[in-house]
């Protein structure tokens, strides 16, 4: 494309609206030119022909960006109307669940996909579009703006002055005093003959681009987590006294749960100020804590050989106080109190009610058979940790967790001649034979607590943090400072033109002008007349 040569001789890139050399307005005469990007040539405003241009223009448009923000916003609101799928625990299918719980509205909500908005494909597409818009809109604006601000000159064309929102003239100025005053307001003053350019806070113009960069880094960090192997998130339930492999650690780490405890605020021991709250609320939890020992597998593990575990450290894992080691973080999660651990059954002669002996079954590791002192033998034919019975009364287990354990016992007499089969649950015993000679009774129950621990490895957290910090720096830079400029031009005999511009906070700029040039009451000068144009503010 052809360059635009200004009357001052400066060659501007095609599409420039304000000459980078002298500040002359290059657009059509009489039309106000937007100062937002210094009238520089932006790709999106200049090239609009081929499909790539069109795509570029689409994503560089702030209108499109705001549209995308609003769509994400509305979609996000939709997702908070009803609880989302990941938070729901139900045995029903999700469709049925939403129908049963929320009626017709629930069905519509579910079938439109609002029940899992945030993990839906189209929400992801929206976020991707927003990211592309962030990148392209920033590139489209930043480079031309940077170039024109870097190369700006002190002397500006008269049409540039007339184009400004704040423009007035004075018969005379005291250059030295003016310079001093401008400097006392932290303006950097540049001079060229009798022309002056006073500028401050230019760096605030980069704020939007810095914060967009931060957002992009953050979003890249979030995206990288989807690559397999980078991000670990696992949950392991460990019973008191148990040692378990921490999933997601490649077999490297084991954790022993020495004891899980729950503490509540004790009314007698708690300070006086809390008494009313304890009275009204009842029980308030104080602490969830797993007293744990972290173990590591030995250096040289030979497959098939028994692994050796070395103790690394003891730690009390609490809510808000996770255990960190080797890039992994272990958090206190859910818990379950008083899970069945050991059941003790006594075997009795049915007729005489005489106790013949008892067996202790460790539910985590039940033996195949138990021999009693008097020669009786109890075999465990089947074990159902979490028993349910179907319509025909046939038992099966729904989980491996001993919520409702049941056994099928075969009790053999000393002489091994007779054997009786019975089904034993925590509540009752059913004998297969009508004329049974043995009775089984639950004698004792031992329980344990179970602690759920979450294992996370997220090596991208520093990147996300960096993105967040860059965003904050950019947003503060752009919000708490303003880019203000004041131009002064000697326009013939006894006339000085003054124009000023700021990207925001015009009130503050006017205050600066009044302090620098004075108002007419004090100095007999004309009150600055503010020429108002309806161009918007910047960035």
């Amino acid at each position: 494309m052809k360059q635009i040569e200004c009357s001052c001789g400066y060659k501007n890139p095609y599409g420039t609206e304000i000459c980078h050399g002298c500040g002359k307005i290059l657009g059509t005469k009489g039309k106000k030119v937007d100062m937002r990007y210094e009238g520089s040539a932006r790709r999106s405003q200049t090239y609009q022909k081929n499909p790539i241009d069109k795509l570029w223009n689409f994503f560089s448009s702030v209108k499109v960006g705001v549209g995308l923000i609003v769509i994400v916003l509305v979609a996000s609101i939709m997702g908070t109307i009803l609880p989302q799928e990941p938070t729901i625990q139900t045995e029903l299918s999700l469709g049925e669940y939403y129908q049963k719980k929320y009626g017709t509205f629930g069905i519509i909500y579910y079938s439109l996909g609002f029940s899992n908005v945030y993990h839906s494909f189209w929400y992801l597409v929206l976020i991707i579009c927003l990211s592309i818009s962030l990148i392209i809109a920033s590139i489209d604006r930043f480079f031309p703006l940077y170039r024109s601000l870097k190369h700006q000159r002190v002397i500006k064309h008269p049409s540039f002055f007339q184009n400004q929102r704040l423009f007035f003239s004075l018969p005379s100025i005291n250059e030295e005093e003016l310079e001093e005053r401008l400097q006392s307001f932290h303006y950097k003053v540049k001079k060229d003959g009798q022309n002056i350019l006073a500028e401050k806070g230019r760096f605030s113009r980069w704020g939007p681009y810095v914060n967009h960069l931060g957002l992009i880094i953050f979003l890249i960090g979030v995206t990288l987590r989807f690559f397999p192997g980078i991000y670990v998130s696992e949950v392991v339930w460990i019973r008191d006294g148990e040692t378990k492999l921490l999933p997601g650690t490649n077999g490297q780490y084991y954790l022993k749960n020495n004891q899980f405890i729950v503490e509540v605020y004790d009314k007698k021991k708690t300070a006086k100020v809390f008494q009313d709250a304890l009275q009204n609320k009842g029980i308030i939890a104080k602490n969830f804590e797993t007293k744990a020992t972290l173990l590591q597998t030995g250096q040289h593990v030979i497959p098939g050989e028994k692994i050796t575990l070395q103790e690394i450290k003891k730690a009390n894992i609490k809510v808000n106080r996770p255990l960190k080691y080797g890039g992994y973080t272990i958090y206190q999660g859910d818990y379950k109190l008083n899970e069945f651990a050991e059941l003790e059954y006594s075997i009795m002669a049915k007729q005489s009610k005489k106790k013949l002996g008892s067996i202790k079954i460790n539910l985590a590791d039940p033996k195949d058979s138990y021999r009693l002192k008097n020669g009786l033998q109890v075999e465990i034919l089947e074990y159902f940790p979490d028993v349910v019975f179907d319509k025909d009364g046939k038992p099966s287990t729904i989980s491996k967790i001993p919520n409702n354990p049941a056994f099928v016992f075969r009790i053999k007499s000393q002489d091994q001649k007779s054997a009786e089969v019975s089904l034993v649950t925590v509540n009752q015993t059913v004998n297969a034979a009508a004329a049974a000679s043995f009775a089984v009774e639950l004698e004792n129950v031992e329980t344990r607590n179970v602690s759920a621990l979450t294992i996370r490895k997220d090596p991208l957290l520093p990147l996300l943090f960096l993105g967040g910090m860059i965003f904050m720096i950019g947003v503060i830079q752009g919000s708490y400072w303003q880019h203000r400029r004041i131009w002064i031009r000697a326009a013939g005999n006894r006339e000085f033109w003054i124009a000023a511009h700021t990207n925001k906070n015009w009130h503050g700029l006017k205050r600066d002008i009044q302090h620098v040039f004075g108002n007419h009451k004090e100095h007999g000068l004309e009150t600055p007349t503010y020429k108002r144009l309806d161009n918007g503010e910047e960035e």
């Binding site: 705001v66 997702g79 908070t80 989302q84 938070t87 719980k101 009626g103 809510v319 161009n535």
Partner: protein, 391 residues
């Protein structure tokens, strides 16, 4: 100590009311001398507001000392602190733009918020494990201060609308009246709560939900709306006028409806007394204010508040969530609503900067922004089920 702190809170509540009167008085004064300096009445108003703010702060510090943790752990404490943040936001912007009408419109919000907070349980409760972290202070305080400053944008925007909208613009003036109706509904809620709790009204109804489990619904106000009779487990004499499915908590909905109803009555009474739109009667209060200045205050408040809000409600929130809940983001309703608020103000800034949305457009956006903040403060905590629910 806790009861002393309560006295300081009450003192600040009363002082805010006095401060409004002085800010209101300054409107007449400004007419006489059209100087840039703050008028005498307004100066007194400012001094009283500062004292009131200090008393409010004393409540906060004393309660902190009494309980050993920052008093931002339940809804009463949080709303009180949000009100404090609003005053802080007002003081910051008043320093930049000494406009008495900003006080006339900000302080009533503060007063209603304090009264509203008082309707929730005020017991000093010990912290549950999830809250036992120094991030409680860092996260909640920063987020609330951000929201407080953003709310000043609403005050300025609202004044802008009152001043600029005339009766001919039916849609806009109806919108303004609707905002005033909302404000009255808060007052209605407060009045009804005081009345019914003083006569000891409390009713309970048991319902059977879809899982077949019994749940109790508390009614703090007489039921005009209740669960479907087929879901009610007992209490045959419980006969509301309207019924809703069991999934909606009819007790809370009932309170909301009654509040709006009483707000409507208050609004109608106000209209009968004033014999015109309420906003029209507010106009004289803002006569001497420049629209351009209001527009700038509204924008400036967003510029100051937005970074603080981002830091507190998103960044600090994410850091704490990573420590306490093992993940920095999990689409919990409160997290989502913080994101919604953030996206909204981001859109506000982009529309203003790039699309030149100034004046009325921008003022309406500031109003909507405040609605989102209030929704986030009240509805998300009370109605939605999530990790931030207080009820």
């Amino acid at each position: 100590m806790a009861s002393v702190s309560g006295n300081f809170l009450f003192a600040s509540f009363l002082l805010y009311i006095v401060a409004i009167l002085f800010f209101g008085g300054s409107v007449k004064q400004r007419k006489k001398a059209e100087i840039k300096e703050v008028g005498k009445s307004s100066k007194i108003g400012l001094i009283i507001t500062i004292f009131s703010f200090l008393s409010h702060l004393a409540y906060f510090i004393l309660r902190w000392i009494a309980s050993g943790h920052a008093p931002v752990s339940n809804l009463f404490e949080f709303i009180c602190f949000f009100a404090l943040a609003l005053v802080a936001g007002f003081l910051i912007l008043f320093r930049l733009y000494p406009l008495p009408s900003l006080g006339i419109f900000t302080l009533p919000i503060v007063i209603v918020l304090l009264a509203y907070a008082n309707m929730f349980p005020k017991d000093v409760a010990p912290l549950i494990p999830a809250l036992q972290s120094s991030w409680l202070v860092i996260h909640v305080i920063t987020a609330a201060v951000g929201e407080g400053i953003l709310s000043i944008s609403f005050a300025a925007g609202f004044i802008y609308l009152i001043k600029s909208i005339n009766a001919k613009e039916t849609k806009s003036s109806r919108g303004i009246e609707l905002i005033i109706l909302f404000f009255f509904s808060f007052i209605g809620f407060i009045l009804l709560s005081i009345i019914f709790s003083s006569i000891g009204f409390k009713e309970k109804v048991y319902i059977v939900d879809s899982q077949g489990q019994q749940a109790a619904i508390d009614y703090h106000m007489p039921p005009i709306i209740g669960p479907d009779p087929k879901d009610v487990a007992d209490n045959a004499d419980f006969k509301p006028f309207l019924t809703v499915p069991a999934t909606i908590n009819s007790g809370k909905l009932n309170s909301v409806l009654l509040s709006i109803l009483s707000g409507g009555i208050l609004y109608l009474a106000a209209r009968l007394i004033l014999r015109t739109r309420v906003a029209a009667r507010l106009k004289p209060l803002v006569k001497n204010v420049s629209l351009e200045l209001l527009d700038e205050i509204s924008y400036r408040a967003v510029l100051i508040g937005f970074p603080i809000f981002t830091l507190g409600a998103l960044i600090f929130a994410m850091i704490w969530a990573q420590i306490a809940w093992s993940r920095f983001w999990d689409w919990d309703p409160k997290e989502v609503w913080a994101l919604i608020t953030w996206l909204f103000y981001a859109a506000f800034l982009h529309l203003r900067m790039a699309k030149g949305w100034k004046g009325k457009n921008s003022a309406w956006l500031a109003v909507i922004g405040f609605m989102i903040i209030m929704f986030n403060l009240i509805a998300v905590n009370l109605i939605m089920v999530g990790l931030h629910s207080y009820a």
